[in-house]
């Protein structure tokens, strides 16, 4: 399993009610259901992923996240709303983050950190849009249209009265280190946050 998903599993209380936005092939929801007695749903848009989720016995709802969640979910209907590596591909990440915290008691968000030194150097010295392990697509075909840095995200949280309950910044093998902890926005490739309304 992707290591960020392993980390997230440990952040979730057993027996809780979980919504996974952009649940992909259902790997995380499947593991949470099997290992942590979690109940909940995955939201996904891709046809093939829908089939994979059904095969894994994951409750999957086929929707376009850019359409918002208001038609489907009432306020505070989940303990956790998770969004892994999806935020940066949304039309309006700001709206979706607010939706997450309307629907869930807590939100868990992971995204690729655009402030990582490789991105910075490729753009400053190479003069081209960065292509890295965490961001493997080229500018013209990338689904990642709203990239942000660790600093951007935390500024957004401050501006919108969102509380950061937990943060973990790691490299692409999802290891943290003393240096990453010292300079997360420069050395971290993937950022993981647990957030709630402030």
């Amino acid at each position: 399993m992707r290591a960020d998903l392993e980390i997230i599993q440990n952040w979730i209380q057993p027996d809780s009610h979980v919504l996974d936005l952009g649940c992909g092939d259902g790997t995380l929801m499947h593991a949470l259901t099997q290992r942590h007695q979690v109940k909940g749903y995955g939201l996904e848009y891709d046809d093939l992923n829908i089939i994979s989720c059904i095969e894994k016995d994951v409750n999957v709802i086929q929707v376009d996240l850019d359409q918002g969640l208001s038609d489907l979910f009432d306020d505070h209907s989940f303990d956790y709303v998770i969004m892994t590596q999806t935020l940066q591909a949304m039309q309006r990440p700001d709206r979706l983050l607010k939706e997450m915290l309307r629907v869930g008691r807590e939100g868990i968000v992971t995204f690729p950190n655009f402030g990582h030194w490789k991105s910075r150097t490729q753009l400053s010295f190479g003069g081209f849009m960065p292509v890295t392990k965490a961001l493997p697509n080229t500018w013209y075909n990338t689904p990642n249209i709203h990239l942000c840095t660790v600093r951007d995200f935390e500024q957004f949280c401050r501006d919108n009265n969102i509380r950061i309950l937990q943060r973990m910044v790691v490299d692409t093998s999802h290891q943290s280190s003393f240096l990453i902890k010292m300079f997360p926005n420069l050395l971290g490739e993937i950022a993981l946050y647990r957030i709630s309304n402030g």
Binding site: E55, I61, S77
Partner: protein
């Protein structure tokens, strides 16, 4: 007419009839003293009766869901695409039951059968039955077949409403509910279409207040118009454009009111062939059954409360170009199920065929049904 029957068909099938002596109290306040239900079955019921699937038909459907009645049949049953060996409702593993609902016109007790009280055909004296009445009668059919609990109950459109009602009225008797291209209740627009269809029939001079049988005629103009209107709403604009466009039958316009465009020819043909196989009173009755359906009404209009009992798991499917039962309507069902914290999967299938899509073997749709039914299969074997 098929020379040989396709290998993935259930093949030749024969309808059966079950008579019920126990009176059935109907929602409208009247009682059916006794009645018949006509049904077909495909596949074998297993020893512990755990592999049964009930198929609920839509407005113009009946018990002939799959296979052929004879080698002379031009067409197989109405859901041949989904029922048969190796198909989503796989008759190698499941015992599939399809019936003609009360008020229907294909052999079950309805307007075109004998009213024992009068010695005449029921006609418009037949009571208007509701989805709830149907579920009661279907439950008795299940009893008579020795089926305590359905592995799955499945239906599209009006059939989907029956599936929902099963999960509400008999949650302990249904493990999986497959609700396809349906809605939790009709919209005003939907009722409006039904009303135009009814007016077409009711205003036909040969309707004779629903007792046209005694006059040895049928309100063919009204029924044909009703079906033509229905057909327009079952197709999408895109599908109609793709299939017919503005194509002319004779290649030129004739400045008259005979058939000129291909779409006119198609609608007239569909309307006419419907008159030959369907009963006008049944059409009136079933459109009312549709209009009346509103399971949330008993729960202060909170649909989620209707779904709070039992452990039934749900698959809800909709089709992107279906404007008669649009995806938004299926999402209302999903929303209620989510509120009730039920196990539910929702697939919105990309399709340009409109409401009719639910009858077609669209690859993603078949994949969804196959994947879901594989889950159901695992539970029985």
């Amino acid at each position: 007419m098929p020379e040989t029957l396709p290998e993935n068909s259930v093949g030749l099938v024969t309808a059966q009839k079950q008579h019920f002596e126990e009176p059935l109290a109907l929602t409208c306040g009247r009682t059916l003293e006794n009645y018949d239900l006509v049904y077909e079955t495909y596949g074998e019921l297993n020893a512990d009766q755990s592999n049964a699937i009930l198929i609920c038909h839509a407005l113009s459907g009946d018990h002939h869901a799959a296979g052929y009645h004879s080698m002379d049949d031009r067409k197989p049953g109405w859901w041949e695409s989904c029922i048969g060996p190796g198909k989503p409702f796989d008759t190698n593993h499941f015992f599939v039951v399809a019936l003609n609902n009360l008020g229907g016109c294909s052999g079950s007790t309805g307007p075109n059968t004998l009213n024992p009280a009068s010695g005449q055909l029921w006609g418009s004296d037949f009571p208007i039955v509701t989805v709830e009445d149907w579920i009661q009668s279907q439950a008795r059919l299940a009893d008579s077949l020795g089926i305590q609990q359905w592995a799955a109950v499945v239906g599209g459109s009006l059939g989907g409403m029956q599936v929902m009602q099963w999960s509400i009225d008999f949650p302990e008797r249904i493990r999986h509910a497959l609700v396809i291209a349906s809605a939790p209740k009709l919209s005003a627009q939907n009722i409006a279409f039904n009303e135009v269809a009814r007016q077409a029939i009711l205003s036909d001079p040969e309707f004779f207040d629903g007792h046209f049988y005694q006059h040895d005629t049928v309100p063919h103009r009204g029924l044909k118009l009703a079906r033509m209107l229905g057909h327009i709403t079952y197709l999408s604009d895109e599908a109609m454009r793709g299939k017919f466009g503005r194509e002319l039958r004779e290649g030129k316009i004739n400045f008259g009111f005979d058939v000129e465009f291909q779409i006119e020819s198609y609608l007239r043909y569909q309307g006419q062939s419907f008159v030959n196989r369907f009963d006008a009173n049944t059409y009136l009755l079933m459109t009312k059954t549709l209009d009346y359906y509103d399971p949330a009404a008993k729960f202060d209009n909170e649909l989620a409360r209707a779904f709070t009992h039992g452990d039934t798991e749900f698959l809800v499917c909709s089709f992107t170009s279906d404007w008669r039962f649009a995806p938004e309507r299926s999402q209302e069902i999903v929303h209620a199920l989510l509120d009730a914290r039920r196990k539910v999967t929702y697939a919105e299938i990309e399709a340009n065929q409109g409401h009719d899509a639910f009858l077609m073997p669209i690859p993603q749709y078949m994949n969804v049904l196959n994947a879901y039914m594989a889950r159901v299969k695992k539970e029985i074997s």
